[in-house]
């Protein structure tokens, strides 16, 4: 009855030898096909097609690796639709390392892509020439900043001229938050407030620092308030996540090497990140870098902490000033699934006097941001974004907090489009408010 074909297809359409060198076959076998992952997968929940579920994708990838099917357009579509949110890893009782299967697979798919499956020119420019350089992201946003200031973007949108832009650029424009005017650089060293408890390095990120520099300043202040000497190394790089997840492994490896050199783990008690996506990527460096960089990467990874994770480990100083708001919390995938950080941000928020924290339905379901996913898979991204906003609205909260810049951008755009009164912030923004009180301003240096 079994129809498993013993004959292998002649042209797999993908580099099987390279895949075999990156993905041990036991990784596929660890999936016992129980299906418990399916309902945790945002794309499966939307489409109901098992090809869009983690179990189904592993089945497809194993079939390709076995030479049973080729990397056809159908297979590519289902694998590309994966958000890489890793919700399935949290759900899997068998401990399947899903990301370690899909990520090399995506790299191989990109390397072998042809025609319509190849990334567009704009995406390539953004990946290779913009994101590696935090400064360039800021610079690229300068025209948008000025246009926003003089109200030109809104006017262009009203008269429909925005439609002349390529779709990718239009979506990027729609995602732009109201950029703050002050974009002052943080000092290289910030002193602790009170007795020094730790010396930490702060990673700023490229998108985060360009879009929400205030959150980085808030993170620095919160660390200071907790007795940390904060070092902000100059010439930081992109973490490489966007490159790695869109199939450019070489670039990601280069960036990882540079970051490891820039943040010497021996000098710091911790390397702090406030963006979940970058944090998960940093923590993956030891897996990304093989010998001779592996040992240095392992040492680096041992010091990497998300801001919430670090503060709870350190024992947070109680914030004093009330922030009387109803707040809900959205779990960024790369915090809850990628780093298993769930309770820490909630604990920090519940320390804030007057703040009421209400639970969010489907808080662990991806909002559809997922790195550049909102640019590459706009339709699914939109569905998931709307679903997220509906859940947020149902809580009655006026603020949604989430620990990742990608989620903040995505949710902010949903809020803007829907004309919702809800505001989206990073938990440290709220914490910072509670430490500073209403009358305090600026960075303490």
């Amino acid at each position: 009855m079994s129809t498993t074909s013993p004959t292998k297809i002649s042209d797999p359409g993908i580099d099987l030898a390279w895949l075999a060198s990156k993905i041990p076959y036991s990784h596929y076998q660890e999936c016992v096909h129980c299906g418990l992952c399916t309902a945790s997968c945002p794309t499966y929940v939307e489409t109901g097609d098992e090809n869009d579920s983690p179990r189904g994708r592993i089945y497809l990838m194993r079939a390709v690796a076995d030479g049973r099917i080729g990397a056809s357009a159908e297979v590519r579509h289902h694998l590309d639709l994966c958000l890489d949110c890793r919700a399935c890893e949290s759900a899997c009782p068998s401990g399947v390392k899903y990301a370690q299967i899909i990520e090399p697979f995506k790299i191989a798919l990109h390397a072998s892509a042809q025609g319509d499956d190849r990334p567009g020119w704009l995406q390539r420019i953004i990946l290779h020439h913009l994101f590696p350089y935090a400064g360039r992201v800021k610079l690229a946003l300068l025209p948008a900043r000025i246009f926003q200031r003089i109200g030109l973007l809104d006017r262009l949108e009203k008269i429909g001229l925005m439609k002349l832009l390529p779709p990718t650029l239009r979506r990027m424009q729609a995602m732009l938050p109201t950029l703050t005017g002050s974009n002052a650089q943080l000092p290289e060293v910030l002193p602790p407030i009170g007795p020094k408890r730790a010396r930490v390095a702060l990673f700023l990120g490229c998108v985060a620092d360009a879009m929400y520099p205030e959150t980085n300043a808030a993170t620095a202040r919160v660390l200071q308030a907790n007795g940390c000497e904060v070092v902000v190394p100059r010439s930081q790089n992109c973490c490489g996540a966007i490159h790695y997840h869109s199939g450019s492994e070489g670039m990601a490896v280069d960036l990882a090497r540079q970051n490891i050199a820039m943040f010497d783990p021996d000098q710091f008690d911790a390397i702090i990140i406030n963006a979940a996506g970058c944090g998960a990527m940093f923590k993956d460096y030891a897996h990304l870098l093989t010998s001779p960089d592996h040992e240095a990467a392992r040492k680096f990874v041992s010091k990497v902490r998300d801001i919430s994770e670090f503060l709870i480990e350190l024992g947070p100083v109680e914030p004093q000033f009330p922030v009387p708001m109803k707040v809900t919390y959205h779990d960024a995938c790369h915090l809850c699934h990628g780093q298993q950080i769930r309770s820490q941000p909630r604990k920090l928020l519940s320390l804030i006097p007057g703040l009421e924290l209400v639970p969010l339905e489907e808080s662990e379901l991806c909002c559809g941001a997922a790195g550049t996913y909102n640019l590459t898979q706009p339709e699914m991204s939109e569905k998931l974004g709307q679903r997220k906003l509906a859940n947020i609205t149902a809580t009655g909260a006026t603020i949604v907090a989430t620990g990742n810049v990608g989620c903040i951008l995505q949710i902010a755009r949903q809020i803007k489009t829907a004309g919702s009164p809800v505001e989206v912030v990073h938990p440290v923004d709220l914490l910072d408010q509670s430490y500073r009180g209403p009358n305090d301003q600026g960075v303490k240096s």
Partner: protein
């Protein structure tokens, strides 16, 4: 019976005309994902997968299949462990995952109406805070669908006190293979006439396709206690199970894990199980707060009388409390955790009278030793529903042979002591060969006659549950399965 390529093309076109092209899968690469469910021994690629979104579409699909003589099989989340959704003979797979609406929740009259593709836990979530819940909670509840639960009459840990799926289904809408839509039961109590709902629950897809389910809502308990009883031996734990039931306590759940299982679960989830214990019992009581302490004392006394001790006592008001969730996550994901110890494993599903538990567990251990197969046990002790997990390496044909022999010996012994070969996973294609051992030819003939009333051509879930005069298929591999 598989459609030939020309009729297949026509079939796909006609299906697309019914549901729209986006709700049909016909490319080979995408169809292979549907060749099996949680049962991996036998696989077969369906000719086409179709995703109806309404009862009317299901009617049109089954009429088309009946007209063309093409077999069809319904599928929910595909978490079944007995091959119930295997497309025997190819044909059309009808995936109900796009019929996923909760149509009505009526708290005052204590019922909800759902479509078959609603995931069990979605209903739990939708009812959260209402003071009511849908009681059947199979271990796969985070993924499995209500439609699949109805088809297999699913169990779960809390069925000991609250009953299995059939006790919580008030009515269904079913599309018969000829396209007739029949409504059975309903939200009201005590329908006259035949109890067709009771007949349809557990039909394993052989009567038709359920398109709507009216479920009973159960009031949340006011309070509860969940205990971890620790024992030096499996036998002592099973004696305690008998003791608790004999004392006329009806626990909400009564689950047992033996030492290999404790170690695997602890490695996976780190709940804090004592890894040197011979066995642990998870004992849960619920009801009025006022009754809880008294029951707790009685249970502790029975545990201690059997040489055990109560290592943990979780006092809860709602089932959302973190420690409560942690202990049940450990239990419900136990099968998958075995995946960390052994590349392949086979979970059996047998039932014995509760008093025979010490005997069957001794028997299982002896069988395992005799065949040189490692065995772990985790099961619904209160129901006498055992799930021995046989660990092996699929690359070694001799181990496969030994695992199959051991499995059959265990299931035969379940029958010998007055039990059965499945408590909750169903017969599917996996256990059809045991049916003649469990039932007389007259019993089986009565079942076949009943099936023919609904499904005379046998196109709906072809060759499932009751062997249709065909010889048993010889199994060559026990497969690996991971939930219950």
């Amino acid at each position: 019976m598989t459609a030939t390529s020309s009729t297949r093309t026509g079939l796909v076109a006609e299906l697309a005309a019914i549901v729209g092209p986006d709700d049909v899968i016909s490319h080979h690469d995408e169809l292979i994902v549907y060749e099996c469910d949680g049962f991996l021994i036998e696989k077969n690629v369906p000719d086409v997968v179709v995703f109806p979104t309404s009862t009317e579409e299901v009617v049109a699909i089954v009429r088309l299949c009946s007209r063309l003589g093409v077999p069809f099989v319904p599928r929910g989340a595909g978490t079944g462990l007995a091959g119930g959704t295997l497309p025997v003979g190819g044909g059309v797979m009808i995936s109900l995952t796009r019929m996923k609406r909760i149509l009505e929740v009526n708290i005052r009259d204590r019922y909800a109406v759902v479509e078959p593709g609603v995931v069990n836990v979605w209903l739990t979530r939708a009812l959260s805070g209402s003071g009511y819940h849908y009681a059947p909670d199979p271990s796969s509840q985070s993924a499995c669908t209500i439609g699949g639960n109805v088809a297999t009459n699913s169990g779960g840990p809390h069925t000991l006190k609250y009953g299995v799926t059939v006790n919580h289904i008030k009515g269904v809408e079913i599309v018969l293979p000829d396209g007739t839509v029949v409504e059975t039961g309903g939200p009201e109590e005590d329908h006259p006439g035949y109890d067709l709902t009771g007949l349809i629950v557990g039909n394993e897809g052989t009567f038709g396709i359920v398109t709507k389910v009216v479920v009973n809502l159960t009031r949340d308990p006011e309070a509860g206690r969940t205990f971890l009883g620790v024992f030096a031996t499996v036998e002592a734990a099973t004696e305690a199970v008998g003791g608790i039931i004999a004392a006329r306590i009806v626990p909400a759940a009564l689950e047992m894990l033996d030492n290999p299982m404790i170690r695997a679960v602890e490695a996976a989830f780190g709940f804090g199980f004592p890894i040197d214990a011979g066995a642990v019992l998870i004992i849960e009581t619920d009801g009025l707060e006022a009754s809880q302490d008294q029951e707790a004392q009685a249970i502790a006394a029975i545990v201690e009388a059997n040489g055990g001790s109560v290592a943990k006592s979780i006092s809860w008001r709602t089932r959302k409390e973190p420690e409560y969730q942690a202990i049940w996550k450990s239990r419900k994901s136990a099968f998958g955790a075995i995946g960390r110890l052994s590349p392949t494993f086979c979970t059996q599903d047998g039932v014995v009278p509760r008093t025979k538990l010490p005997h069957i567990l001794r028997f299982i251990m002896a069988v395992g030793e005799r065949h040189g197969i490692r065995v772990a046990n985790v099961f619904h002790a209160g129901d006498g529903n055992i799930h021995p997990i046989l660990m092996y390496d699929e690359r070694d044909p001799d181990q496969i042979r030994r695992v199959l022999e051991a499995s059959h010996e265990i299931l035969d012994e379940c029958i010998n002591v007055g039990g059965s070969v499945t408590g909750e996973h169903g017969i599917g294609v996996e256990k059809m060969s045991f049916m003649p051992k469990l039932f007389t030819p007259m019993d089986l003939a009565a079942m076949v006659a009943l099936r023919q009333v609904f499904n005379p051509a046998g196109l709906c879930s072809a060759e499932k549950m009751i062997p249709g005069g065909v010889g048993c298929i010889e199994r060559k591999s026990p497969g690996k399965r991971a939930s219950a």
